[in-house]
Symmetry: C2
Subunit: 341 residues, 2 copies
């Protein structure tokens, strides 16, 4: 039996050595390879390591590992116009076709004119009318199919690519890295919950149930064949922006996040709420300061003002005071998009 026993031990050693080599290979692959070394990358790695070190002072049990990410401007491009607004504008002709009386009614008349300058000047109230007309009044499954069709064919005006390709590679890496360490990643967006859920799984690896967004009510009913369906109603349940973000997090998740990522004044309350919890908490803000590779707007640090993705100096100051980490797109990101390779 002895030679056999020693062979088994030898085999065990070989297997163990193989496993160790494998582990080393994994450790050598940087999960945040699109990030330059710096304070932002360091903050992410240190947070994940300290909260997942069993027995460490900052250890967080797996169930409590919740990380929330704003979408527009944090996970993907939000300039010059939110892609969901583009969807709604593109849907107007179909709405007018179904209800021809709208062709002569504002704001539909302006949208149908195709006059870009006039469309850009539409008021918030006009925009709301367009959102209601294009996002409600149909069964949830019909909406889903329409949105999917648009996402497959629409192209961003600058990069001439599907909007879903305009996600930030470094943020995709953060989400993957956190998930690999037991974090449940959520999108918490001012955008429409139903809209983002159409593509979040394919684009970010985030399932529908982990998308929290601005949400309207639905109404349960039956079609002529007696088959039940949910009709999207023009009734706002959750305005998932500013204070609505922690309120939405409580409603949909029921736990305070351990980490939160944003890029604008709309994320202020989510970051405050996250940081106000006990133990280790991470709050980060993406600063768009890279006019060459993406956009530069703020106006923190003297960048140009923008109606979309406001990042006022006051938010920058609050970040400094409350220990939030600002990510400089220009300096912290080695690569912005996956298609740059």
């Amino acid at each position: 039996m002895k030679p056999n026993g020693s062979r088994l031990r030898l085999l065990a050693l070989v297997v163990a050595a193989g496993l160790a080599a494998g582990a080393q290979a994994v450790a050598q692959t940087d999960p945040l390879s699109s990030w330059n070394d710096g304070a932002a990358k360091k903050a992410i790695v240190e947070f994940v390591q300290s909260t997942t070190t069993q027995g460490g002072p900052q250890f967080v049990p797996p169930g409590e590992r919740i990380a929330t990410f704003d979408q527009d401007g944090t996970l993907w491009v939000e300039q010059p116009v939110y892609s969901q607004i583009m969807y709604c504008l593109d849907r107007v002709p179909a709405v007018v076709k179904a209800k021809p009386e709208l062709a002569e009614v504002e704001p539909f008349k302006t949208v149908m004119s195709g006059n870009r300058e006039a469309i850009a000047k539409l008021s918030m109230k006009d925009l709301e009318k367009i959102l209601v007309a294009t996002l409600t009044g149909m069964p949830t499954e019909e909406f889903r199919a329409e949105a999917k069709k648009w996402l497959d064919t629409a192209r961003d005006p600058r990069w001439k690519r599907p909007y879903t390709e305009l996600t930030y590679q470094p943020m995709q890496e953060v989400m993957k890295y956190m998930r690999a360490n037991g974090y449940k990643t959520y999108i918490v967006t001012g955008g429409g919950q139903d809209f983002v859920r159409v593509y979040a799984e394919e684009v970010y690896g985030i399932p529908p149930e982990q998308v929290v967004g601005t949400a309207g009510g639905t109404k349960y009913g039956y079609d002529k064949a007696g088959k039940p369906f949910l009709l999207k109603e023009p009734r706002l349940l959750l305005n998932d922006d500013k204070a609505g973000k922690p309120e939405g997090i409580h409603l949909m998740i029921g736990r305070r996040p351990r980490a939160a990522f944003g890029n604008s004044a709309g994320d202020k309350e989510m970051l405050e709420y996250t940081k106000a919890g006990d133990g280790a908490r991470l709050a980060m803000l993406v600063l768009h300061d890279d006019a060459t590779r993406e956009y530069a707007y703020g106006p923190a640090k003297g960048l140009r003002a923008s109606k979309i993705g406001t990042f006022p100096q006051s938010l920058f100051d609050q970040a400094g005071k409350q220990g939030w980490v600002v990510i400089s797109m220009k300096n912290d990101w080695k690569q912005v998009f996956s298609f740059e390779k």
Copy 2:
């Protein structure tokens, strides 16, 4: 090298045999051991097996494996009064202490009198006033702490046990069995979402984010020290009962369940919605026909009528027509509670 090679093959065979023996041992342990053999148990096992057999005609990808469970009367005892109502009644003295002017105002005066007969006669409108007074107006974390304290000390009048021990062992087994097969289990309850989230993880292994319930709004604000908190408001966002169940499922989960379990007319729409999806779907109803071990009420099959957990004959008939499976507590459950052992 040859002897060595054959030793390795031998070792591989030994390892494989060990694994096979392990698998067999697992297969021999019945995951539904509190169930008697019958149509109900068979329906559950066949559904899980067919939807998890890779390459099979009814295979469901892991991400789409969503199972929803009503709570009161489906996962735990709902008679003679929902435990959350007991919580609200028990909280009235504290509310009156904080606002002494309520002592002479109905329905608080009746509750403070301790007259059980009079309390049992309170109208739905009175009950609503009590719910608003005891479930809203405080920070979410204060509510959580109060509810937890009550759950630790309150006892059910019949079994003299914490309410959290009155869960049905067979249903606990179904949830574990489904989770072991890649199903995400959700509670979808007419009860308060915040209330059920306090204990769902400990009692059912269901984390807060997988509890969908009747939900009110919260309001984000800051305390005197500038620390943010969420105040529970008397503003109904979701009445998670009847048609509100599929509406709540769409809002909070965003996918149609593959399996749904209920016990009353309040679950009708959830079961219809679940069964209306394509592919394999499972819909089940618990019928309380066991007056000895639990309660018998319905009034399907001639059981006594009850204000709580209505199971009219029409629901029984619909189950038959639409292929829902009725679980007879008396005949299908070998054991009702874990403490019976």
